[in-house]
């Protein structure tokens, strides 16, 4: 048994199981165990960084199940470990008094273990096993929410399982086409028969994990119902990390695809649609957490576009953006959690006081993370976004335009919420509210500062990411860089003007882009949940089952009424024919003889 396996998979797993079954009088021990397990994980993810290890686990029946620890997944594990640590500290601080706290901790450790398993394994089957196993903690963590939102958890489970089915199918195909279960030995040319289908299936499965449309609709629901650390750890970190990891593996290692081929264009269109629609929805949300979750879906679109551009540059951009996104989105979710703690709600109507004064640290964190989110220069996400723009532009300018529109929308959304949360006039008398407990805002501030620090010292993450993926050969020309930056700044200015305009004219905070959005009637689509594929699916299923029920009723009628009726009728007629009159019987005999002679 290798130490990596112990540290990254076995320890969190055992800690999680132990935590679940320990009696409640050891609560302090449980909390310490939880934090220790997460810390150990984060520590070793940094400790082992830079090594390359291939080992055979002999995990099951002495099968050759190889695990591979190398550049890409070691980086992913650092990101995951950091997010897990922040989320764990925040969870311990914020979920003290809730009922299912320890269930949540246990499942979070399980999720960490399984996610590490997905990253480490070099075997398709084991990958699928861990990937599917993640469903269990996912369900458990959502169900650990305040009102036991089992239905939301079920919705998540159903949507994810559809996506996972695609992945399973794709893995099956690629194993058949590539002829090996080893991920590192698989390298399939896309022109091989069946390879395209395998690619599509695996791509859908991986992208759906990040919340790509139409597999997104559980995220906004979960954002309201599930505990906040779930949104930070699962939706923001684990799902994105695993999704981007697998996407990069797919386009980089598993398939050989030419840059600019049709399938890459289609994949990019898929990403663009996700980001545009999700950002439009995000603009309209009335709940901060919901807005964040839609924005999260939109950011997944950016990453998909970058990966699907197939260039090394694009992959670096995607990985970079993923890291940035995890940092600022974590911070924004923490902000949302803090506000919820203070105000009891993150809906617009729920905000009663002037949070700028009562919660200065939270406000400061929001400003930093929001700036990163909007793509303000010298913040973390600014560079990653520029890189994604560049990679999109290198394929087609139309993608670039769409991405810019998406950025405009997300900038508008975050500015709008900033004004609403922190600059609106208090509706009631100011109740003397305090800043949240210290362990809640420490993670908030750390992630907020990270947005700034990594923005200024952007060489650090850039180098890390480049080391992992590979050096970018051709940097873009200065002119293009200048154009990109100026367009981004222009977009920000537009968003700012839009919100200033809003302050004067409109109340909904959408400004002049609202007119454009109204025309598409995006709000109605959203509010009637007509766009939720899950609801559509469930409706269809209901209709189908009703139809089946009716058919069944018809069949029952056939069996209960028609068949016995006709049998009875025939039976009665045969009975009546037997009158007991011997001449009739003799007549039958004669008829029978005639019939026989006809046959001969």
């Amino acid at each position: 048994m290798n130490i990596l396996l112990n540290v990254f998979i076995i320890i969190p797993l055992l800690a999680g199981v132990l935590l679940y079954f320990l009696p409640s009088k050891y609560n302090i021990v449980k909390i310490i165990m939880f934090l220790a397990a997460v810390s150990v994980n984060s520590f070793f993810s940094v400790f082992f960084y830079g090594r390359e290890i291939l080992f055979n686990s002999h995990l099951l029946f002495r099968l050759d199940l190889y695990f591979r620890y190398y550049g890409l997944n070691s980086f992913m594990m650092i990101v995951l470990g950091a997010a897990a640590l922040l989320a764990a500290v925040y969870a311990v601080a914020s979920m003290k008094k809730e009922k299912n706290t320890f269930m949540f901790y246990a499942f979070m450790l399980l999720a960490l273990s399984f996610a590490n398993g997905v990253l480490l394994t070099d075997n398709f089957i084991v990958l699928l096993l861990f990937w599917e196993a993640l469903m269990i903690p996912m369900f458990g963590m959502i169900a650990a929410g305040k009102d036991k939102p089992v239905w939301t958890a079920l919705k998540t489970l159903i949507i994810s399982s559809v996506a996972d089915l695609c992945l399973m199918f794709g893995v099956m195909l690629i194993c058949a086409v590539g002829g090996s279960f080893m991920i590192s030995q698989t390298n399939v040319d896309i022109s091989q028969p069946g390879a395209v289908f395998a690619f599509i299936m695996m791509f859908i499965g991986a992208a759906a994990k990040a919340g790509a449309m139409p597999f997104h609709s559980w995220i906004p629901d979960a954002s309201v119902k599930a505990p906040l650390p779930f949104m930070v750890f699962m939706v923001t970190a684990v799902e994105k990390v695993l999704s981007i990891y697998l996407l990069i593996r797919i386009v980089k290692d598993l398939f050989v695809i030419e840059i600019g081929s049709d399938i890459s264009i289609y994949a990019m269109i898929f990403g663009v649609i996700t980001l545009l629609v999700a950002n439009m929805f995000a603009v309209y949300q009335k709940d901060f957490k919901k807005m964040l979750s839609y924005a999260s879906i939109g950011q997944a679109g950016y990453m998909i576009v970058a990966v699907a551009s197939l260039s090394v540059f694009g992959m670096v951009a995607a990985l970079f953006h993923m890291t940035a996104h995890i940092v600022y989105k974590t911070c924004l979710f923490f902000v949302a959690g803090n506000i919820e703690k203070a105000e009891g709600s993150t809906e617009i109507s729920g905000v009663k006081s002037n949070l700028r004064q009562t919660m200065p640290y939270t406000f400061m964190s929001f400003v930093l993370a929001g700036a990163a989110f909007a793509g303000v220069p010298f913040f973390f996400a600014f560079f990653s976004k520029e890189m994604i723009y560049a990679s999109a532009l290198s394929v087609n300018w139309a993608f670039y335009v769409c991405l810019s529109i998406g950025s405009l929308l997300s900038a508008v959304a975050i500015l709008n919420w900033g004004i609403k949360l922190f600059y609106s006039k208090p509706k009631e008398k100011i109740i003397q509210e305090k800043e949240v407990p210290v362990f809640m805002f420490i993670p908030t501030i750390i992630s907020a500062l990270a947005c700034l620090m990594f923005g200024i010292f952007n060489k650090v993450p850039h180098t890390l990411v480049s080391n992992v993926i590979g050096q970018v050969e051709n940097e873009h020309s200065v002119i293009i860089t200048v154009i990109l930056i100026s367009v981004s700044v222009l977009v920000l200015i537009l968003a700012f003007i839009n919100n200033v305009y809003t302050c004067k004219k409109r109340n909904d905070g959408l400004g002049f882009i609202a007119a454009a959005l109204d025309k598409i009637k995006i709000d109605k689509l959203n509010e009637n949940i007509k766009f939720d594929p899950y609801e559509i699916f469930i409706k269809a299923v209901t209709k189908f089952s009703n139809a089946m029920f009716n058919i069944d009723k018809g069949l029952n009628y056939f069996y209960d009424v028609t068949v016995p009726g006709s049998v009875n009728f025939v039976s009665e007629s045969v009975k009546k024919a037997h009158t007991g009159n011997i001449s009739v019987y003799l007549l039958w005999v004669i008829l029978g003889i005639i019939f026989i002679f006809i046959i001969f």
């Binding site: 003799l586 039958w588 005999v589 001969f600």
Partner: protein, 474 residues
């Protein structure tokens, strides 16, 4: 020649019973007759050619062309079982010594005719033995001399006469053409002149005659009435043996040993068998009288036998013979059950009965097993024979008829379930609180026949090898 004893002993027994100036009592006659049945049943297990010279000398005075094969032996066993059942039911049902005596005499006579029919190898002798059986049957049906019985007996007489005329004219034509009536001569002739229209007419007339005797639809008019009107022990004997022997066994014997198959004969057999199966089952569904329902069920099951036989292969013949044996056993069992009901409840209308399972556990259990066997539920014997019939049809590429056979099983299930529900299940009807189980003789017979059904079903592989495969090697 020792199988002639099967004919001679009952004849001598009848003579012995009716010696002038000395008449034995009915009870002793019953005892002797049932003993004879047991001996006959066990003779099935004796080797075929075991002879003793004294007996040979005795028998050689009678110039009968007797031969024995597996089918004959199996039929000998069957007739012994059914006759035994019938005699025991008689013992339980009839109190009058005179009636017992008469009945035993008639049944022994009939048995003599029947056993002769199994061994005889001459179409005229076949006719003679059929008539012996028929003559005793007329009397047996009308033995109680009530109005219905007499009417039923008369119907049987009229229809049988039609059959007799047909068979006799057929034999006449065949004799005319072949110059002899033994099987070999007729068979040789048929191979030579098979296409001749006169010969064909003769064959058809013979078939129709046998159809009337066997109660195949639409030649069955006499059958339900006589089964219904006959006294209980006679019903057992009639349904279990008489129609099956005079009609179906003879049919099988003639076409298996004499005429052979051709497509026209096959299609006649298959079509009439299918009509019997389906319409018989349909008619059984709506019957309210227990025995009448059984009568129509009998017609339906006869259809199965003819259908299996009509497959035209030796496997089909084996299936038919096996189903004949099974049917004799479980239909006798059902008629024994009906006798039990008749004796204990004295109501013949099924809708007036109900909930009798609690009062008559043996009768109800054995009837359930008999009906399951009839419907073809594994592992009972009826399942295997039906399976063989269906397989025979399927392998002979007569898949439509195989499907009909399978679907008609559902109808079989239907009418028997209706019967079970009406008679044995459900709530006990008023007035039946004091009903008791049938007398020992009847329950003993029920259990015996039920045991045969179950054991033959469970030991099917041995039965297939030892019993059927020796009768008809396929």
């Amino acid at each position: 020649m020792s199988f002639s004893l099967a004919v001679l002993i009952p004849l001598f027994l009848v003579l012995f019973f009716n010696l002038p100036f000395y008449r034995i009592s009915g009870k002793i006659a019953v005892f002797i007759a049932s003993l004879f049945c047991i001996v006959q049943a066990f003779s099935f297990f004796l080797p075929v050619n075991a002879t003793c010279p004294a007996v040979q000398n005795l028998v050689s005075y009678f110039m009968l062309d007797f031969q024995c094969d597996g089918i004959s032996r199996l039929m000998l066993l069957t007739s012994a079982i059914v006759a035994f059942a019938s005699i025991l039911v008689l013992y339980a049902m009839e109190d009058s010594d005179r009636k017992q005596f008469n009945f035993v005499n008639l049944i022994l006579l009939s048995l003599a005719g029947m056993n002769g029919l199994f061994f005889v190898r001459d179409i005229f002798s076949v006719y003679v033995f059929i008539e012996v059986i028929a003559a005793t049957s007329y009397i047996l049906i009308a033995i109680n001399k009530d109005k219905n019985a007499l009417e039923a007996s008369f119907k049987y007489l009229v229809m049988s006469s039609v059959a007799t005329v047909m068979m006799l004219s057929s034999i006449a034509i065949l004799f005319l053409v072949a110059g002899g009536t033994d099987f070999v001569t007729v068979s040789n002739m048929y191979q030579q002149y098979g296409g001749n229209s006169l010969v064909t007419a003769a064959v058809v007339l013979f078939i129709v005659g046998l159809f009337i005797k066997g109660g195949v639809m639409p030649f069955h008019g006499w059958l339900p009435d006589s089964y219904l009107a006959a006294p209980a022990p006679v019903s057992v004997y009639l349904a279990g043996m008489v129609t099956k022997t005079t009609g179906i066994y003879t049919l099988i014997r003639l076409f298996y040993s004499v005429f052979g198959f051709n497509t026209a004969i096959q299609s006649i057999l298959l079509i009439f068998a299918s009509i019997s199966i389906v319409l018989g089952a349909f008619a059984a569904i709506n019957q309210n009288n227990f025995k009448r329902m059984l009568a129509y069920s009998s017609i339906s099951q006869v259809g199965y036998i003819v259908l299996g036989f009509g497959a035209g292969t030796t496997f089909g013949v084996a299936a038919a013979i096996f189903h004949l044996f099974n049917h004799s056993v479980f239909k006798s069992l059902l008629f024994v059950n009906s006798a039990a009901l008749e004796k204990q409840v004295n109501v013949s209308d099924m809708s007036e009965m109900g909930g009798l399972a609690s009062k008559m556990p043996v009768t109800s259990t054995t009837s359930v097993i008999a009906f399951l066997s009839t419907a073809g539920i594994p592992p009972l014997s009826g399942f295997w024979s039906k399976l063989m019939i269906i397989l025979a049809l399927w392998t002979a590429d007569l898949k439509v008829y195989a499907v009909i056979a399978i679907l008609a099983s559902i109808l079989t299930m239907t009418y028997f379930l209706i019967m079970q529900k009406k008679v044995f299940f459900g709530r006990l009807k008023e007035g039946f609180e004091n009903v008791k189980e049938a007398p020992l003789a009847i329950t003993f017979v029920s259990i015996l026949l039920c045991a045969i059904t179950v054991v033959v079903g469970l030991l099917f592989p041995f039965v297939l090898n030892g019993l059927i495969n020796s009768a008809v090697s396929f």
